[in-house]
Assembly symmetry: C3
Homo-oligomer: 357 residues x 3
Amino acid sequence: MRYPRNAWYVASWEQDLEPEVPFGITILGEPIVLYRSAAGRVVAMEDRCVHRLAPLSRGRCEGERLRCMYHGLLYDPDGAVVEIPGQDTIPPQAKVRTYQALVRHSWIWVWMGDAAKADPALVPPAVGFDDPDYILGKGQLDYAAEARLINDNLLDFSHLSFVHANSFGASESWARNRPKVIPIERGVRVEQWIVGERSMRADAPADRWSTYDFLIPGVLLMTGGSFPVGTAASLDFGRPDLSKAMHGVTFTSQAVTPMREKTARYFFSWGPRRDMGDEKQRDLLMGIAAQAFAEDKAIIEAQQHIIDATPHPRIMPTSADKGVTLFNRLVERLVREEAAAGTPAMPDKIAGENAVS
Amino acid sequence: MRYPRNAWYVASWEQDLEPEVPFGITILGEPIVLYRSAAGRVVAMEDRCVHRLAPLSRGRCEGERLRCMYHGLLYDPDGAVVEIPGQDTIPPQAKVRTYQALVRHSWIWVWMGDAAKADPALVPPAVGFDDPDYILGKGQLDYAAEARLINDNLLDFSHLSFVHANSFGASESWARNRPKVIPIERGVRVEQWIVGERSMRADAPADRWSTYDFLIPGVLLMTGGSFPVGTAASLDFGRPDLSKAMHGVTFTSQAVTPMREKTARYFFSWGPRRDMGDEKQRDLLMGIAAQAFAEDKAIIEAQQHIIDATPHPRIMPTSADKGVTLFNRLVERLVREEAAAGTPAMPDKIAGENAVS
Amino acid sequence: MRYPRNAWYVASWEQDLEPEVPFGITILGEPIVLYRSAAGRVVAMEDRCVHRLAPLSRGRCEGERLRCMYHGLLYDPDGAVVEIPGQDTIPPQAKVRTYQALVRHSWIWVWMGDAAKADPALVPPAVGFDDPDYILGKGQLDYAAEARLINDNLLDFSHLSFVHANSFGASESWARNRPKVIPIERGVRVEQWIVGERSMRADAPADRWSTYDFLIPGVLLMTGGSFPVGTAASLDFGRPDLSKAMHGVTFTSQAVTPMREKTARYFFSWGPRRDMGDEKQRDLLMGIAAQAFAEDKAIIEAQQHIIDATPHPRIMPTSADKGVTLFNRLVERLVREEAAAGTPAMPDKIAGENAVS
């Protein structure tokens, strides 16, 4: 798994982290327990008791602390064991790794790398349920596939014409046109006009603008809208003023989180701008998303199967892969830089008296 | 997996390959897509798009061609990419491997080795649904076991007495008698008289003759019939004239196709000769076959489990293994000869700019 | 898997080994077939036919013998093939390994090591259904976890306070008090007073005494009883006379059998002493056990998952681990001694003409 560690990964929907209920997720192969303490603090730590490696995510919140419910070791939010029932002294090495975590835009984000570099300004500017401008729905899917394959999918919308001809009603223009792909800070921007077509069950043809940023570690933030036919040409295919769109302005935030080598969790929200839709429209979009994202999952998991059956898999990029290639090069560069800087992945294991096996 | 590549492997029932509907199967570990083009041609090619390795078996037939339904690359029946949507030039290496394929005796056969050696005369002479002499039923089973174990089973009918005492009503004579086992071109022939016994729910004792060829790569073709008691002795246990059988003349064609290392697909047809049975008799035989082949599957998959749990598995052949031994030596010889002749298995992967992982 | 081989492992409940019905179980990674012959003898042998490695546990008992139901080889209870249908001579190497086996205390025990050392006196003194003093119920559970993790669990009852707060109604005293842990012959003894508390839905507080032996290879034998508050102190926390208990005297026998690397079978019985309960009380206890042992299975299998996700797992023992540590050291010592003495594990495979693969 070659993914940057110095990045904020989505671990959960904010709504799914109930107060004082521990929540386990594996990110980049590392089991992590999240909890929201009595005081409301979000804590993320290694999901592995120092004693006998039971998962703390099966534990019990006690105020600010978390107790392992196997033999009762109690952990402070800083990862230190503060109580071993029936034992007076606590060894100084009795401590699990903690992770920087924060809540923003309705997601719980966890920083997987060097804590000193965990800059909240690096959280991608997703749109959460607290944004008054949008009426959002949400969903998530677990993939039996490497996260990178999902990123690749999201970076090349030429697949819309084939994978999503039914769900999104995407025409072949998505495959035949090449979007503008622009490198940006920690990501790529993809912009595109689809001209003079009906989009997603709309009644009349329009010029459809869409733009998205795909950001480290794997976050897609997209908006767009429909304009009178002729708008694209009149703008010389440049950026329109979305506040002047006729209809169809929506926003979607999507995040791909690598769990294990070949599993990933995909989080998404979508909905209309408040002035251009309502709850009913939002639900319609979520129905389309459910169908479309199941189509992606089917082809990507099938792709993973073929890759697994291939001794020396090689790809052959096309001109539609510009975004994919730029983003994967960025990932590779960040991974290399982190390796050079010695970013600690998992700290050395605390050595007990006995190895387990 | 040590199997000859220069051989016709059964990939599907002809009836299951619907016009212009791609069909995927893995043979000898290689994912293959089959389709029957608009003009009726049967095409077999590598089930792996050159672009990002999505399976072409999830694609769409377009006349003679097959389109990958991930990003829309279009393939000619010769494996060459002829269209990349939105891209003018197509790299010359944009090509997948193709396989020789043909339809015969109701099966789709795929040649897994050197295309130059793909001689249709090497297709085993199975009996298909187009044969006016037989009234056939068909079935298939997927095994969680190495194909070779199924071949071994089919090459030694001494198991009938124990595995199929109920389904086939086989007596212990099948285990106690030794059939005549004769090496033939690309296989072995197994001939046997079971004398003076009731067979398969027949009313009266008879002398039962059976003969089968077991042919490369793993195809069993068997017939036989029942004669008055005394016939075997009067013929000095030689071949009878099946046209003079009292009753019970049937034909069964069976094929074992290695899919992955420890999975295989087993295809079979069976039925009475038209002058000795009808659809009702055919259905009765298919009911018996369903029971009997489930018995084989149970013991063979259990055998595979034990082999998997055995560090250095060794067998101890018996005198009943003559057919097994002859056939497996033939397989070994063909595999060695192919290795010596440099039969191309999979061609070297087309190198793209990036490896997948 | 580091477990002693010179030990009696529980293979089955006596009641589950029906006369002349072969029964398969894998112990220490070795497939074993058990059967009770027509004369009532319990036979344990390698579950792997010498011919083609089919499992003998799918075979047929014939008097004292067992016939492989693939091609009909017949085995004597000493493991020797005595018949190969249709073949006059039997190679002398046609023999499977046998294991010493016996029935005692309602369990079938199998000796996995050197047969010459298979001393029946080493069978742990469990309480079976033939014991007139107890009214027992029984159960078993299959674990997707290494047997050692279950042993560890049973050797440290501090987990009762956290894992079994509901089922057993265990207070935190189980975690805060340290039991007396005494090395004994082939095991450890764990003794404990829980003072002045209500235990397991009892009405009034009592002093609760419990004592168990945990014996090689992984057998727990526990009894205990409730006494008037003050008894523990009056005995200076020494052993009480269980015949003078007020109520709650029960006995439980439990056995952990390693099957494969990360699977185990857990057998248990429990019930009241006849003078202190009845069938109804026994059924109540079995209901509690079903709940409690499901709690153990959940945390232990979760622990196994975390261990599997940990590159170099290390534990950090606490003062509650005295029993665990003593027992595991004993196991290690026995394993080392056996290695030094050259205890035969599996004998060298009988070499046939052909290897299977």
